[in-house]
């Protein structure tokens, strides 16, 4: 009875099959590699098209027709450039944005970023629930029913779901943005004109037009998304070797985000603008106005898109915010912990949802909240982008992966342009009458 006897027998069994199995494993491995990386970029960019975003695009289309379409290409570049820096930082350092701010800029800077971030994000959460309320009104559901159910849904999603499950749900939500493409096709737009206006800039210098332009930028590039994006790549444990896939994810995300914006603007331009309904100020009115112009299905798909976008963002924002704050300040965070292990995390998360939904139930001035949230984003964005630029150029953190000169120029131009535009937006929102941005 020796071991060699058995080993010899085993030797005969193993000879076959080895090579085929190897090849099957290799293929499976490549596929999982790709699937392992995609997600954060796609999700983040699409969440940008949230309730506030859709309202702004609706206005852009109904007030100015196709005239603002040209801005989508430079905006895509700006979105990609800023998001790519965060993705790269997440992959190279393996740390979240709030972690890096804490380690490199100390406690007080972090605390400041976290507190302001909390309130800006809270305003955004309110806006998302306002979006839920507006969308459900089109389907004839009272907000006192719709909003509490939505809040509960969002809350349970996090408590019961794992990161992977939640991500799959989010990726499915991304797919639902297709409804806007359907709405746009039903609206029978002038595709040739739309295409022409996309590539040839038409710049007007009347103040309303400029405000609209600023609003578009402000709503598309939101400050909280950088934290979420970076954390997403850290959580997925993307390694430097997989970085090309991660970058592709960010690129596809940025482009798909702008494609949806394109279709929303085209849809409203083809209907509301063409028929002279140029004072539509929000997505709900837009959906209502679509009914007689492009049929009830155009209205329903439009409203469904709004509901999807609002729920989607309402799920991500409170979670991301609670995570970022706890990580930066050193409290236990994450849904893998029990309530007693991470009380601050769960309290923050719950508070954001309860206040977010509560404000929507208590007031009828939902679109004022929307403006407030966008102004908040606008003021906050340049601060976050400057932190990112300072960090991404640190050799001791990033090694050979710091920005190249060209990239730095593009990034700083983007940052400064955003600062100028958002200062302008903030100024007009605060000091001009009416609702300039949506």
């Amino acid at each position: 009875m020796d071991k060699g006897f058995i080993s010899r027998r085993i030797g005969n069994v193993q000879a076959g099959g080895t090579d085929l199995m190897r090849r099957v494993r290799g293929l499976r491995r490549r596929l999982t590699l790709l699937l392992a990386v995609i997600g954060p970029g796609l999700i983040t960019s699409n969440v940008d098209n949230d309730a506030g975003g859709i309202s702004t695009y609706t206005q852009a289309g109904s007030h100015y027709g196709y005239a603002l379409l040209w801005s989508l290409i430079p905006m895509t570049i700006a979105l990609y450039v800023t998001e790519e820096m965060c993705a790269r930082m997440g992959v190279v350092t393996g740390k979240g944005l709030s972690d890096l701010i804490r380690e490199e800029f100390g406690f007080r800077s972090t605390f400041f970023v976290m507190v302001v971030g909390f309130f800006v994000d809270l305003a955004n959460v309110v806006a998302e629930f306002a979006g839920v309320a507006a969308a459900m009104q089109i389907f004839g559901v009272n907000k006192f029913i719709a909003v509490p159910i939505a809040a509960l849904l969002v809350w349970v999603l996090v408590l019961k779901g794992t990161y992977r499950q939640v991500e799959v749900i989010f990726l499915v939500a991304c797919a639902f943005y297709v409804t806007y493409i359907i709405s746009a096709i039903l609206a029978k737009p002038d595709w040739l004109l739309a295409a022409k206006m996309t590539v040839i800039p038409t710049i007007h210098f009347d103040s309303g037009y400029l405000v609209m332009l600023t609003g578009l930028v402000g709503t598309t590039i939101a400050p909280w998304q950088f934290f979420y994006l970076q954390a997403g790549f850290v959580e997925k444990r993307v390694s430097v070797r997989q970085y090309p896939q991660a970058r592709a994810d960010v690129l596809v995300g940025s482009i798909s985000c702008m494609v949806i914006v394109f279709f929303i603007i085209v849809c409203t331009a083809a209907t509301l603008y063409t028929h002279g309904m140029r004072n539509i100020d929000n997505a709900r009115d837009a959906a209502e106005a679509l009914r007689p112009l492009a049929g009830p299905w155009a209205a329903y798909t439009f409203a469904f898109g709004l509901l999807n976008a609002s729920l989607f963002a309402a799920s991500i924002l409170p979670l991301s915010t609670a995570h970022v704050i706890c990580e930066g300040l050193g409290f236990e965070a994450g849904i893998d912990n029990k309530f007693s292990e991470a009380p601050i995390f769960y309290w923050l998360y719950t508070l954001l949802i309860v206040i977010g939904a509560g404000v929507v139930l208590m007031t009828n001035k939902l679109w004022t909240i929307l403006i407030f949230s966008q102004v908040g984003n606008g003021i906050w964005l340049p601060v976050v982008v400057i932190f990112i630029l300072l960090l991404v150029n640190r050799k001791d953190l990033m090694g050979e992966h710091t920005n190249t000169l060209t990239f730095n120029i593009v990034a700083w131009v983007t940052a400064i342009a955003m600062i100028v535009l958002t200062l302008f937006l903030t100024y007009t929102a605060l000091f001009m009458s009416g609702s300039p941005s949506g």
């Binding site: 009875m1 058995i6 027998r9 069994v13 199995m21 804490r102 444990r237 390694s239 050193g330």
Partner: protein, 412 residues
């Protein structure tokens, strides 16, 4: 008790009472004394900063540091790799709390004074990772120190004694110079260590694995998230990686190698000793979703005709881990599987009792090609702790342990 952040920014005066500058950093020289503040960095605006040695300091209190020498006696500051900087390397950074088995972030560093002849020494007593430290950092310079102290005394404390603090330093050169060892980590359970490592960045994980002994490293790798394991191994020196994989159970090693690019895994197998490499290669040839993909080729087996005493003598000669000794696989004269005996039964058996009399009924085994679902069912139905895997000729070629079944089920 003094706090590092309270003392940072204090004005420094020499023995003549002349103002020199402000204290900006504390250094520790771990090679000399692991918890003593050995040097104070005094910055002087646009002039070169000075370094005060601990025996040149007469007194220190929040806002004020007095030297017992004149300014001329101080050395100009030069970067020194052997010094650990409290503010730069410790404050706001993540550390491992080896007593609480957690990764935490440092809010402040607590110091105690020790008077000796004519000077004062500061010793690191603990790091603050709780709310009091956070509140102090926030309110410093805004509220008066007395108010801050009163406020923080009412808050729940959360501190870690300095001897339980394990710094995380990815740079191996620096780790040696600063005497950062991971001996304390080696005493933790590998599963705890793996969980903590998942909270760190890639470079930090790499640094920890690099300084663990091979056996611990192997155990930790087996517990880590599979994606992290492959990343770590790919970035490691192939020789060291092979040494670690060699220490792993063959089934865990095969799982790891299966996820690596072919060139890397071939290279690693090449570095491993022939016997271990052959075992792992064999396991790699099976589909992971079958019994063959789950089994371990190292198991305890013997002839069914052995007596208990002979069996014990045989077991003692084997080089096996405790986990692999749970159940004995019996074979007949044709080397076919003929039964299994839980090792615990040997305790109750008579010395001359034959193994064939001790075996468990009924005779259960799986074929290498059987699906993992069948394996789960057998474990559930017969409450197994170990299941024998046989080939087409009914020869036992491996064994599946219950812990592998549990972790597979959890992943689903």
């Amino acid at each position: 008790m003094l706090y590092a952040t309270e003392l940072m920014g204090s004005t420094a005066h020499d023995s003549d009472g002349h103002y020199i500058g402000r204290v900006r950093e504390f250094f520790i020289e771990p090679a000399e004394q692991p918890n003593r503040v050995s040097h104070y960095l005094i910055s002087r605006g646009r002039y070169r900063p000075l370094l005060a040695h601990y025996d040149q300091v007469a007194s220190i209190e929040p806002g004020k540091l007095n030297l017992n020498v004149r300014e001329q006696a101080l050395q100009p500051y030069q970067p020194n790799e052997n010094l650990l900087a409290v503010s730069k390397d410790l404050l706001d950074q993540q550390i491992i709390d080896t007593s609480g088995r957690k990764v935490v972030r440092v809010n402040d560093v607590d110091l105690v004074e020790q008077h000796s002849n004519g000077n004062i020494e500061l010793r690191l007593s603990q790091v603050d990772v709780g709310i009091p430290g956070a509140v102090r950092r926030l309110l410093q310079g805004i509220a008066s120190p007395a108010v801050v102290r009163k406020l923080q005394s009412r808050l729940p404390h959360s501190t870690i004694r300095w001897e339980f603090v394990n710094l995380i330093e990815p740079d191996p050169m620096r780790r040696v110079k600063l005497r950062i060892t991971h001996e304390k980590l080696e005493n933790l359970h590998p599963a705890d260590l793996a969980e903590m490592m998942e909270m760190l960045s890639a470079a930090e994980r790499q640094g920890i694995i690099a300084s663990l002994d091979e056996e611990t490293a192997a155990e930790v790798l087996a517990e880590l998230d599979q994606r992290l394991t492959t990343q770590i191994v790919e970035r490691m020196d192939p020789g060291r990686a092979a040494d670690i994989i060699e220490e792993m159970d063959p089934d865990a090693a095969a799982d790891l190698l299966a996820d690596l690019p072919k060139e890397t895994s071939e290279g690693l197998l090449h570095e491993m000793p022939g016997k271990e490499a052959a075992e792992v290669r064999e396991l790699l040839s099976f589909d992971p979703a079958t019994a063959g993909g789950m089994m371990n080729t190292e198991f305890l087996f013997m002839g069914e005709s052995l007596t208990r005493d002979e069996a014990l003598a045989w077991i003692r000669k084997q080089d096996l881990n405790i986990e692999q000794m749970d159940t004995i696989v019996l074979i007949n004269l044709e080397a076919e599987y003929s039964g299994s005996v839980p090792v615990a039964r040997l305790l109750l058996a008579a010395p001359e009792q034959r193994m064939s009399e001790l075996k468990t009924e009924p005779l259960i085994s799986v074929k290498v090609t059987d699906r993992e679902g069948d394996v789960f069912e057998l474990f559930d139905k017969y409450n197994l702790r170990m299941l024998t895997v046989v080939n087409d000729q009914d020869h036992p070629i491996g064994a599946i342990a219950v812990d592998d079944v549990v972790s597979r089920l959890l992943k689903k």
